[in-house]
């Protein structure tokens, strides 16, 4: 939103908005209203909407598990859940949030919707494969629901052996199957994105003109394609051990339990970047649009995404500092982990430099982006502490680690996801939402998040281990703070559901470019027509070529 339009959508309306705008009548949404038209679609925009609905459902399942955990931790005694029940709650929370929300969240909703629009293409490279990857995701989701309804699994999302391969007696096989299947969905999405960026850029859309969102998704897709199969084989090996007794990890069958950790983290550390790189891409777009300025250091931001993806493959050992791996290996992994901070910091500095002397629009999407930067910096700095051997040995497996990765995953990835929702909602559905409510929910989420997770840094530093549901009474005050923060956070996450839904029917019609942003997606009507572009665009401008309003803002 530009400065003069501030508050436009908060003013009381004189006439109700039209039921159906001309743009909507010729949009991808009007292409068909039957269920069939949605379930057999190959339109990337419709698949994105299918994903949006399904990941939102899983988000709320995962959030319910989190609510159970936080309720249990209100008191030092284990009075709400049994030991077993608590283990199952946090396992479900982890499995659902990681594989069924965070990993598909931004790539599969916004990547799907925006990649073709941003590069001037009519669809992704393999439209049917794209729909297939949604079906695979849903199929895997059914296994997860089965696990949930039949009592759950208690291994933790990490499936550490020999617990998962020998001792755990929950629905381990079903949970493994769910994660195994959903991995295929990730791989197909990754292949689709890479080929799309290589082969479907519009004439004139050179690599140096790609929006940074596209660069971030390109880097993410590389990780999806190259890391996910390692998880696949790891899960196969657990299944072989559990079902056929082929001992790979269980020492009593000749196996090596540490081998599991190596293989698992070889996937799962890069997976962190699968979750956060798309968020970094979103924020790059949001910051430039809010500052109305050319992004500072385009190539640095673009290449830092690639650098994060590449270095991310060589840091897995920092999860194993206390697992008895060689000290020399730990030292090298520690150094490499510190190295990831460099490209991450480059991004933060460049966003800050972009905002410098910009005429900043403080709309909801931008508030989310600002929240992201703050939380990402805190999460990143605590990550640096954890990358150092001496500190990690002290706080390993405590709430300090829990707080750290929630700052990145929830404070980072989820906040950026909501920023993306608020920024591109008018484009996706052609309606403006209530800006005031958007700002309120951004503020609530920022406050609620910090209240939930900052006390956990203190808890961890004082020695509270993770995965325990009974704890000494001196930790209670901090746990109560954390749980009350979770309540506010829940409220903040619930609000957008209401006002965004409301906007679908009652919101003002959105113009093609309501924020005055650059990028090809803003040149088409909101919502876009089925084929995206009347004719394939020819790109002649540099990216983020915002017209400068003031002489001072040069530089």
């Amino acid at each position: 939103m530009n400065a003069s339009g501030e508050g436009l959508h908060d003013a009381p309306r004189e006439v109700d908005p039209p039921r159906r705008t001309p743009a909507e009548a010729s949009s991808y949404i009007a292409d068909g209203y039957s269920l069939r038209s949605w379930f057999v679609t190959t339109d990337h925009k419709r698949v994105a909407v299918l994903y949006l609905v399904s990941i939102t459902a899983f988000f709320f399942i995962g959030a319910c598990a989190a609510a159970l955990i936080r309720l249990e931790l209100l008191t030092p005694a284990g009075d709400l859940l049994t030991n077993e029940g608590y283990n199952r709650a946090f396992t479900l929370h982890g499995v659902v949030m990681i594989w069924f929300f965070l990993i598909p969240s931004i790539p599969n909703v916004f990547g799907n919707f925006l990649l073709p629009l941003m590069i001037g293409a009519r669809d992704l490279a393999f439209p049917r494969l794209n729909l297939l990857s949604w079906y695979i995701y849903v199929f895997a989701g059914l296994f997860t629901l089965y696990v949930l309804l039949t009592g759950g699994v208690d291994t933790g999302w990490t499936f550490y052996t020999p617990l998962s391969s020998t001792y755990a007696n929950g629905h381990v096989m079903a949970a493994l199957t769910a994660v195994f299947i959903v991995g295929w969905s990730s791989i197909l999405t990754g292949i689709n994105f890479i080929v799309t960026v290589h082969k479907l850029r519009a004439p004139g859309m050179t690599w140096g003109r790609l929006p940074l969102f596209v660069w971030a998704h390109y880097a993410t897709a590389l990780i999806l394609v190259l890391a996910t199969p390692v998880l696949t084989i790891t899960l196969i090996l657990i299944a072989l051990e559990r079902l056929l007794g082929i001992g790979i990890f269980d020492p009593s069958l000749g196996g090596d339990p540490l081998l599991f950790q190596h293989l698992f983290w070889f996937y799962s550390h890069p997976a962190v970047y699968i979750m956060v790189l798309p968020a970094l891409g979103v924020v790059s777009e949001l910051v430039a649009a809010a500052a109305r300025k050319k992004i500072f250091g385009y190539w640095f931001v673009a290449y830092s995404s690639i650098a994060i993806a590449v270095i991310g493959f060589f840091v897995w050992g920092h999860h194993m500092f206390v697992s008895g791996q060689s000290m020399y290996a730990s030292t090298i992994f520690s150094f490499l982990s510190l190295l990831v901070a460099v490209p991450s910091a480059i991004k933060v500095y460049n966003w800050t430099a972009t905002l410098y002397k910009g005429s900043i629009a403080l709309n909801a999407a931008f508030l989310f982006a600002m929240g992201f930067i703050g939380l990402f910096v805190l999460g990143g700095l605590s990550g640096l502490m954890l990358a150092m051997l001496a500190i990690d040995v002290h706080v390993h497996d405590t709430y300090f680690v829990v707080a750290h990765f929630h700052y990145i995953m929830v404070g980072g990835a989820v906040t950026a996801f909501l920023g993306a929702v608020h920024f591109w909602w008018p484009k996706m559905f052609g309606r403006m939402y209530n800006e005031t409510w958007g700002r309120i929910s951004a503020a609530l989420i920022f406050l609620g998040f910090n209240l939930t997770f900052f006390p956990q840094f203190l808890l961890g530093y004082l020695g509270m281990p993770r995965r325990y549901h009974v704890y000494p009474p001196e930790f209670q005050a901090l746990h109560v703070l954390s749980s009350s923060g979770a309540f506010i956070l829940g409220l903040g996450y619930g609000l957008p559901l209401i006002y965004l839904f409301y906007s679908l029917r009652h919101g003002d019609p959105a113009e093609p470019n309501p924020w005055g942003a650059t990028g090809l997606e803003w040149t088409v009507p909101s919502p876009p027509p089925t084929h995206n572009f009347e004719e394939v665009p020819r790109v002649e401008n540099e990216p983020y070529d915002y017209a400068l309003r003031h002489d001072e803002s040069i530089g």
Partner: protein, 202 residues
Amino acid sequence: MQRHEPYPTLERQREADQLGMMLFLGSEIMLFGALFAAAFGLFLQHTPDVEAASGRLNLWLGGANTIILLTSSVFVALGAEARGRRPRRLVACFLAAALLGILFLAVKALEYAREYDEGLMPGTAHAHFASGPQQLFMNLYFAATGLHAVHLTLGVVLLLVLALRERWRPATAAAIENAALYWHLVDVIWIFLYPVLYLTRG
């Protein structure tokens, strides 16, 4: 062109198909890569154990399978080369390659049966190994060759389908090329499995 066809030209579409397949094969390499990395790590940590365990595999049956698979790849290459021009040669070559694939699986089954008799199979194995790492090596062997056999079976099915379709509804050039690429990759993975598993003997 189809409604959702996002490509400006057919040429571009073919490039995209091939790039997509290459990326998929890249992910397949990472799938087996984890097993190779595990075997390599084991070799570095317990060299004598790995050498002893490797010595229990049947070098000659493994070697015969290597030759069988390499020959099959030649047929696949010849068949794919003949696409569009000489459909009969394509059918003959793909059928020959598929038969060689089945032969490979038969030899592999024979090998497994002998290993079962010697008590090397997981479940029957415990008492027969001098050390944990020896058993782990053997288990990695079963996991890796088993996964390879699954891939090869898929490849055989793929070749048979393409060969049988050729008469009525020939597959597109991209499909034939991609199937051939897949077959070659399964072959190449064996080329690496063979030395890592069979030739590490002391």
